[in-house]
């Protein structure tokens, strides 16, 4: 065993036994070494910062033209004003990225290499989930805090808000939490559907179509179903103030969202384990 591998000693020497840490490192390399990830995360930061500044500046300049009810809404929940617009776009970026993290493995054939390396399969999925959610959380929080401070500074004269106000810090961190779990939600759908277009359609259906649809359900049934939808329940944690008609508290809502996501991840893990690759 010498001709092709004169230095194959490095394989055995220093050979850490493969561990979950190794899988985490591998998934981190996968994530950072593809352009779409980098672009989606850059987009997330730029949009969050840009929209916070843009919308607060517009609000301040148009303050005299704003109706009193709207003014009152903004004063009541300045955080929603500051982070709201950027947040909507970030959701889209995280959904697409979450789906791609999984479906690009299938569309390029990389999944075969991945599963040859980790034939038990599910540890690969869990490592992917861990790395992806932590990265999304960190990037989202790192974007949300400066956005908040910029927006709060611009809004100060009209609707003063501080990080220490009740619910505010939770809402800013909550934006990161919501996006991280949303990323996992998208990743799970990507793992179940395995095709990019189908999975993105699926997640858009969940986030954009299902919500208005359940509004059409009659009476309190509609309200209840609506409140327990993944995106609706999950977004509660990103709002500093609770609406008077909210059925769930922010943390309850977040728990409901996490439950949805774990069910989908459970299905994804089962299918990953049992389907032919």
């Amino acid at each position: 065993m010498t001709a092709t591998t004169p230095d194959a000693r490095s394989v055995t020497e220093r050979g850490r036994s493969p561990s979950f840490a190794g899988l985490l490192r591998a998934e981190w390399t996968k994530l950072r070494s593809v352009r779409s990830t980098v672009w989606a995360l850059v987009l997330l930061v730029v949009l969050t910062l840009g929209f916070a500044a843009l919308f607060t500046a517009l609000t301040v300049s148009q303050w005299s033209n704003t109706s009193e009810t709207q003014q009152r809404q903004i004063v009541a929940d300045p955080v929603g004003m500051i982070l709201g617009a950027g947040f909507q776009f970030s959701q889209l970026a995280v959904c697409v990225l979450g789906v791609l993290v999984m479906t690009s493995e299938y569309s390029t054939g990389m999944i075969r290499s991945s599963l040859l390396a980790v034939p038990k399969r599910t540890p690969m999925l869990w490592a992917k989930c861990a790395v992806f959610s932590v990265v999304v959380f960190l990037v989202a929080v790192l974007a949300a805090f400066p956005s908040f401070f910029i927006g709060a500074a611009i809004l100060r004269s009209k609707a003063p808000v501080a990080l220490g106000d009740p619910g505010v810090a939770r809402a800013v961190v909550g934006a990161g939490l919501y996006l991280a779990v949303l990323g996992l939600f998208a990743l799970a759908i990507g793992a179940i559907v395995r095709h990019t277009a189908g999975a993105i359609t699926g997640i858009i259906g969940f986030v954009l179509v299902l919500s208005p649809l359940t509004r059409l359900l009659p009476g309190s049934l509609g309200e209840r179903v609506h409140a327990y939808l993944p995106s609706e329940a999950g977004q509660l944690i990103t709002q500093a103030r609770q609406g008077t008609d909210d059925l769930l508290s922010p943390w309850q809502g977040f728990a409901v969202f996490c439950l949805w996501t774990s069910v989908l991840l459970g299905i994804a893990a089962y299918l990953l384990k049992h389907r032919d690759a």
Binding site: T4, T5, S17, K30, G109
Partner: protein, 319 residues
């Protein structure tokens, strides 16, 4: 090293692998041969834990692939289909695999140099030529310095240069004492590289024997004979029990007598010989003979014999 026992796999209504059993012995190159659609890739995918068998088992050193704690250190695999993210560089692709097995980063550099990928290591794999892509696949297979290599149609679509590179590599791997299982639908390719053959057709085992024996067993030995006086030659040979047929270029194709015998015969009769060439039936012919009943797409026997295996066997069905 590889034990396949009573393995079956069904895709829809097609039985791709049909109660197949064989062993791959340590330390030699075993060719896995069969026409397109015979079930070679399916079998390899089950050995590698990518597909689940519907029946039977495939194990490596007694364990299913899924139970290997560091699979890439035991088995290196090159699949027929691409298995690389097109947007990732060759270096990062190998790094991902190394990290997943707990291999040091240095090993990636070693393999890249060994396989001759240094100048493209930083480029996106999506832009690689077929040959470069194949090299990257081989680099991934050798990353963990495995004892066993499973290569599915490694020369498919490669140019002569690439084919030679793969052949030499396999010889080197075998010389290092590694076990290689390599599939192909090209008989001649196997003749060059494999010590032992496992031949399958329609998912079933047709032959499991040394390559030499396979050729020997299924070939009719012919001797080409040419001389200025063909008529007397023919008479002398027929008189000694040989069968003579004329070939297209005017030579005699003799069966039933070996070359030495014919030479002595000619000397005894004072006949001049211009050519005396023993001929082994080509491997393709031997292969066709054995698999003629098991080609996935039925074709007329004669038609098939006329055509080389390099042509798609499916063509015959459309005539």
């Amino acid at each position: 090293m590889i034990e396949v026992h009573d393995l079956s796999k069904r895709y829809g209504t097609t039985l791709a692998v049909d109660h197949l059993s064989f062993n791959v012995q340590v330390g030699r190159v075993t060719g896995f041969l069969g026409p397109n659609g015979a079930g070679k890739s399916s079998t390899m995918r089950m050995i590698l834990g990518l597909d689940r068998p519907d029946g039977g088992s495939a194990t490596i050193g007694g364990r299913p692939y899924r139970d290997l704690p560091q699979p890439l250190r035991v088995v290196g695999a090159l699949l027929e289909a691409r298995a690389v993210h097109s947007g990732r560089s060759a270096y990062n692709h190998l790094l991902v695999l190394a990290q997943s097995q707990g291999l040091p980063r240095r090993r990636v550099d070693e393999v890249i140099e060994m396989i001759g990928l240094t100048h493209v290591a930083g480029k996106r794999a999506g832009g690689f030529s077929l040959g470069m892509g194949q090299r990257l696949g081989i680099a991934a297979a050798l990353l963990g310095d495995p004892e066993l290599l499973v290569l599915d149609e490694p020369v498919n679509g490669l140019d002569p240069e690439g084919i030679r590179w793969i052949r030499n590599l396999m010889k080197r791997l075998a010389a290092e004492g590694r076990t290689v299982l390599v599939s192909s639908h090209l008989m001649n390719e196997m003749a060059v590289t494999a010590d032992h053959l496992i031949v399958i057709g329609r998912g079933r085992l047709i032959a499991d024997c040394p390559t030499a024996e396979f050729i020997e067993r299924s070939s009719h030995k012919l001797v080409r004979v040419q001389g200025p006086d063909q008529a007397r030659l023919q008479w002398a040979i027929s008189g000694s029990g040989g069968q003579v047929a004329a070939t297209d270029d005017g030579a005699l194709a003799v069966s039933g007598l070996d070359a030495a015998h014919i030479g002595e015969l000619a000397a005894r009769h004072g006949l001049v010989l211009h050519e005396l060439t023993p001929q082994l039936a080509s491997l393709e012919e031997a292969f066709m003979e054995l698999t003629s009943d098991s080609v996935e797409y039925g074709a007329q026997n004669q038609e098939r014999r006329d055509r080389s295996m390099a042509a798609a066997p499916g063509e015959g069905a459309q005539r």
